[in-house]
Amino acid sequence: MTDASDLIALYWRCRTQDRAAFAELFQQYHRRVFTSALYITHRADAAEEIAQLVFIELFSAFRRFDPERPFLPWLYRIVHDVSMDYLRRDRRGAHLPLPTTEWRLDALLGADPDPGPAERAERAELQEMIWRALERLPAQHRVVLVLRHYSQLTEAEMAEALRCRPGTVKSRLHRAHRALAEELGECRPAAAPAWVGDAVTGRLRVALAER
């Protein structure tokens, strides 16, 4: 893992338009950028294109970047701008879902190293349900959820990335959580296991508490 001083040195080199340094930076952050774009757009093809655009923008914008300042909020500001711009321009497949079977498999490979079969199935269902609920949210909500829960930015960093005040971030985050909870309530009751079907009446809280 690269430590902070190495990263700062890397940023300084990128500032001079050093292509080798930029390739290094790409290796360091591409996966994160791609995944964020995927979580924001819910489209693999869009995520690939957005990641390219972000790094192209990053390359030319590096001249303006102060390497002593935190890099991630700045990076996510570009990710946010490019993603939202992409979604505005290309509305055709804004809600095109990803293939779910692969994701289901992913879900089965969750954090718990050795869950029982029933628990794995339940977890997969739950994650699938959350993914579908996220898919229904407006992109603005998805962005704040990704920045907070995937990228793990603090509220101050999110404020910098989204160009707003920390108080605004807090309220946007709260609205996104509420919208997600509402979507979770409406997600399905037909195909879900019984405990998910009862989410609307509050049993989801119990189920979540047990996790």
């Binding site: 490979l109 994650q127 995937y150 979540l208």
Partner: protein, 182 residues
């Protein structure tokens, strides 16, 4: 887990809501992490990026960019000139002047006079029309046919109709068997 909607957990206290939000956060983190574990970005992403950066930095591209920049600047200056308040006032002034210089004859007439429209919207009877009207009065008095139509007849014709010929000595109107008009 519906918060704030009142439809599912109406009596939920704020600490319960916070706990729910914390659980939801945990679930989201786990969902994101589980999905990320299987994500594999394209292998040729760096090669594509390098190709794109090469294309951006190539001299021909830069030349095109310079041309575009120049064109955009020229367009911006032109628009600025045309749309600036000074340019607009000058433009409207020149339009006004042009309208003044081109006196538009109007179709309507008042009596026998020719009404001309002016740029300030007022109607005026031209001096020639006044002369025509005078000549008509003269013709009526002389028993000749009055002028019909409205046209700016040359003065010589008018005077001829009034019985004044160019050959007459000045101050002596033609008699032609008719008493002179006073």
């Amino acid at each position: 887990m519906r918060q704030g909607t009142g439809s599912t957990c109406p009596g939920q206290d704020p600490s319960g809501r916070r706990a729910d939000e914390a659980r939801l956060s945990l679930l989201l983190e786990r969902t994101y992490a589980a999905r990320e574990a299987r994500i594999t970005p394209a292998d040729d992403a760096l090669a594509k990026l390098n190709a794109a950066l090469d294309a951006i930095g190539s001299p021909s591209r830069r030349r095109v960019d310079h041309r575009r920049l120049f064109g955009a600047c020229a367009l911006a200056v032109l628009l600025l000139v045309l749309l600036s308040p000074v340019a607009r006032s000058e433009f409207s002034a020149s339009t006004r002047n042009a309208a003044r210089s081109v006196v538009m004859p109007m179709n309507g007439t008042v009596g026998d006079g020719v009404i001309t429209g002016t740029a300030n919207g007022r109607a005026a009877i031209s001096p020639v029309a006044i002369a025509v009207r005078a000549a008509d009065h003269t013709s009526a008095a002389n028993g000749t046919a009055p002028m019909t139509g409205v046209s700016e007849t040359p003065l010589r014709d008018l005077l001829a109709r009034a019985g004044i010929h160019a050959s007459d000595p000045p101050g002596v109107p033609s008699t032609d068997g008719h008493p002179p008009q006073h």
